[in-house]
């Protein structure tokens, strides 16, 4: 008899212990994402589709130094450079990227390009929904990655001669 009583008590204790975990977890906040019913949430440093940044004057930060392309292990960045002129000033430096493509069918989101950029022009954004049935749509052009000019900035606004000591 004594045996069966202790067995019941033991089982009850085990259930109580298990239920206490369940109850505790029920009370704590949810971590599961409700994606796609609700928008996904990200850590700040999540590495999604790249964003090409502008400076305070609204000019493109990229000076077409090709260092991101050189750092890229999957060789998916393609750049064509051109010279800023008095009439047409695109970036803050002497040179700008007239073409800047990233091939997302090859990008492994390693972040090396961001690391390599001397002007902080290329950063990772949080966009990740880029799946496609057609790989040719995975080649993103500069225009698709460039941030919009902030509404309060009138660009381009820098004087043509850059000043020294930068």
């Amino acid at each position: 008899m004594a045996n069966s009583i202790s067995e019941i008590l033991g089982s009850a204790a085990a259930i109580a212990k298990g239920m206490s975990v369940t109850l505790k977890e029920m009370m704590s906040p949810t971590v599961t994402e409700d994606y796609p019913d609700a928008p996904a949430k990200f850590q700040e440093r999540y590495r999604g589709v790249h964003v090409l940044q502008r400076d305070e004057a609204g000019l493109e930060k990229c000076v077409a130094c090709f260092l991101c392309a050189a750092a890229c292990p999957s060789n998916c960045i393609y750049i064509e450079a051109d010279e800023n002129t008095e009439k047409k000033r695109i970036s803050g430096g002497e040179r700008y990227a007239s073409v800047y493509n990233i091939d997302y069918s090859r990008c492994i989101f390693c972040g090396f390009c961001v690391e390599a950029c001397p002007t902080d022009a290329i950063t990772h954004g949080h966009q990740f929904e880029i799946a496609s049935y057609n790989t040719s749509t995975l080649i993103y052009r500069k225009e698709q990655m460039l941030v919009n000019i902030a509404p309060n900035v009138k660009a381009p606004a820098l004087p043509v001669e850059t000043t020294g000591g930068h």
Partner: protein, 691 residues
């Protein structure tokens, strides 16, 4: 010279007494970093990067100017030396902008490399950097003063290497900068040597400016297609576009030298007027675009119908040896004509005949650098033969060579000449005779002569040379990239490959003047330039060219051809040195002349064997004297080998032909250069010869 024992970093080495320490160290695998020291240039000792510790010397010494002596003990990596280098770099960078991301030199910059290897990585200077706006000195030369480290390399290469002296230094201290010849702009050879030699991105090239970065390009070593000198040029290719030319690896017969054409005038390949599709003259008498298959079919049919002795063939001075060989073979066999010629620009044939039975008397480009004496007859070398002129200048600088000139007007070589004779071209030989006494005292001599010396005069000149009683070598000057190859391959009305007699046909002028000519096939040449016309109004004319030249405008069918930068093959320079062309870019729409000849042969049902550059070269090597013993590995790896096409007499010619140089200047070489945007921009003064 006596050998001395020197200890560098604990290792005992032997060196020639008085040799420069920096060179001795280099020969023994020890790097002494340097900016202003440059092999082949005068010493400057301006940068202090090469400081080393020498035992018993009170202070660190500049390794670039220090001659070694017996028992010298040197340390190149000791603590004071390492510290001195760090300080030197810190000073050099004190006003240097942080421009690397946009600087055209980035990635191949000596200052970057040195800072990476020897620098501190931090600067104690916090002062605002002094900025000076960049200046454009000419269409091809830009100068950014803050990046300049004042090493004087550019000043020296322009003065000593080019003999131009267009650059100097002005102002002092932090304001010191390089100043161009005309105050705010350059009037010079526009050779770009200064840009090339600049260790930093201070001097940059107008054509390569901000286009790409060094590691993004493919570097294709080929041969310049402009003049006859045959400089090696390394084309920087990106996206099937040539973006720069230089020869930093010093390969080839030219070392680092390139003139304005070799360095910049590759842009004709991208010219908007470049032909990209065949043209056929339609019923209305206008040239109309057509497909390759239609054009080839038409030409093959016509060729088949018109083949025979009245068929004229004019070959090119720019196409490869393989193409020239195949062209004359096709013409002499399948087309059954002996009327084959090209634009002859120098009398090589008589020279070879005059030297029959002798060996080793044709000079190479290298001979102009090593020979103890050089005689220039009737040529403005610096304008017409830039590399040969450069070799002579280097010879004077390094070996104190004796230079003699016999020219109708002033030439740059006068400045370095022992004796300069001013005499009309027609009387050149009398001028040469005046030098007899001086020349016979020289130990050896190279005689180079222009087109004013031809026929009998060549024989007289050679007789003069042989009577001096010293070893004499000769160069018969010609104009274009493969002028010599056209002769060697038998694009002549009475001589086949290797100067063998063949049945005589018409010369170029006779073809143009003959009203009975049934057909004319012009491959890469422009015989109707300057308003000339074809006497035979009914002749069926086919032209292969890059552009719609005067001759192409007269053609019934125009076939767009590839340039030398777009094909493989070999060319032979003015000194008979064979070098290999390497395809830099693919063509759009046009085809290599070799392929066109092959397709026409196929259209006519003629079997020419395998039509590719290597196979044809093998055929040349098997059958053309002088080309049969060329060491192929040397050529295939980008070297130059001299040919001696015949060593017997050349049969006398029965066909009167014209030999006339086009008298091009430094900024022009035939029709190609008309289509170079950059050359037309730098044409500050047309640069008349002998002025």
């Amino acid at each position: 010279m006596a050998l001395v024992n020197v200890t560098i970093n604990g290792v005992q080495v032997q060196a020639e007494n008085g040799a420069l320490l920096i060179e001795v160290a280099k020969q023994n695998g020890i790097e002494i970093p340097a900016f202003c020291y440059y092999e082949g240039m005068s010493l400057q000792a301006a940068c202090r990067m090469c400081l080393v510790e020498v035992e018993k010397a009170p202070k660190l010494m500049a390794g670039c100017t220090l001659p070694v002596a017996e028992g010298m003990v040197v340390r190149t990596e000791s603590e004071p030396v390492v510290k001195a280098r760090k300080t030197t770099l810190e000073f050099l960078l004190s006003n240097h902008p942080l421009d690397c991301p946009v600087c055209d030199k980035g990635g191949e910059c000596e200052l970057q490399d040195m800072t990476f290897k020897y620098g501190v990585g931090e600067s104690r200077f916090t002062e605002i950097k002094q900025h000076v706006p960049e200046k454009q000195w000419s269409p091809v030369v830009f100068y950014d003063a803050p990046r300049c480290i004042l090493c004087y390399r550019c000043v020296r290469v322009c003065n000593e290497g080019m003999g131009v002296g267009a650059l100097g230094v002005s102002y002092r201290g932090v304001n010191a900068e390089i100043i161009p010849s005309n105050g705010d702009h350059l009037e010079c050879d526009e050779c770009g040597s200064c840009i090339d030699i600049c260790p930093v991105g201070s001097l940059t090239s107008g054509i390569y400016r901000y286009k790409t970065r060094p590691w993004e390009m493919e570097h294709v070593g080929t041969v310049c297609t402009h003049c006859s000198n045959g400089c090696k040029t390394t084309l920087g290719v990106r996206n099937n576009e040539i973006v720069r030319g230089n020869n930093r690896d010093k390969s080839g017969i030219n070392g680092e030298f390139l003139c304005v054409k070799g360095r910049y005038a590759f842009d004709f390949t991208q010219h908007p007027e470049r032909l990209q599709t065949p043209l056929i003259r339609n019923a209305a008498g206008e040239l109309e675009e057509a497909s390759w298959s239609r054009a080839l079919k038409l030409v093959a049919e016509k060729f088949k119908a018109l083949a025979g002795p009245d068929f004229g063939v004019i070959g090119s001075t720019r196409t490869t040896n393989e193409e020239n060989y195949l062209l004359q073979k096709f013409a002499r066999t399948a087309l059954g004509t002996a009327s084959i010629d090209h634009h002859r620009t120098g009398d090589v044939v008589t020279l070879i005949d005059s030297l029959s039975g002798k060996t080793g008397q044709l000079a190479t480009a290298e001979d102009l650098y090593t020979s103890k004496a050089v005689l220039v007859v009737a040529s403005d070398l610096s304008q017409q033969q830039p590399l040969l002129a450069n070799k002579i200048r280097a010879n004077v600088r390094h070996h104190k060579a004796a230079v003699y000139t016999v020219t109708p007007g002033p030439v740059r070589e006068d400045k370095i000449a022992r004796k300069a004779i001013r005499i009309a071209e027609a009387d050149s030989l009398a001028g040469v005779e005046q030098l007899r006494e001086a020349l016979s005292k020289e130990a050896e001599l190279v005689i180079i002569y222009g087109d004013a010396i031809q026929g009998e005069k060549v024989r007289q000149l050679v007789a003069f040379g042989e009577s001096l009683g010293i070893p004499v070598k000769y160069v018969a000057l010609v104009d274009y990239a493969n002028s010599r190859g056209a002769l060697d391959m038998g694009l002549l009305p009475d001589l086949g490959p290797g100067y063998h007699a063949t049945a005589p046909g018409r010369s170029l002028q006779q073809m143009l003047d003959d009203p009975k000519l049934a057909a004319l096939w012009v491959v890469g040449s422009n015989p109707l330039k300057g308003g000339k016309s074809l006497a035979s109004t009914n002749a069926f004319v086919v032209v292969q060219d890059l552009f719609l030249t005067e001759t192409a405008q007269r053609a019934d069918v125009v076939l767009p051809a590839a340039s030398a930068y777009e094909k493989n093959g070999t060319v032979t320079n003015v000194c008979g040195q064979v070098q290999r062309l390497k395809k830099g870019i693919e063509t759009v729409g046009s085809k290599a002349d070799l392929a066109i000849i092959g397709l026409l042969a196929r259209g006519m049902g003629v079997n020419l064997g395998k039509v590719d550059a290597d196979a044809i070269f093998a055929e040349i090597a098997a059958s053309v004297p002088g080309y049969n013993q060329l060491p192929m590995p040397v050529i295939l790896t980008g070297g130059a080998v001299q040919t001696h096409p015949v060593n017997g007499g050349v049969p006398p010619s029965s066909v009167p032909g014209i030999i006339a140089s086009a008298r091009d200047t430094l900024f022009t070489t035939g029709s190609l250069t008309r289509y170079s945007k950059i050359l037309n921009e730098v044409l500050e003064k047309p640069g008349a010869l002998y002025s």
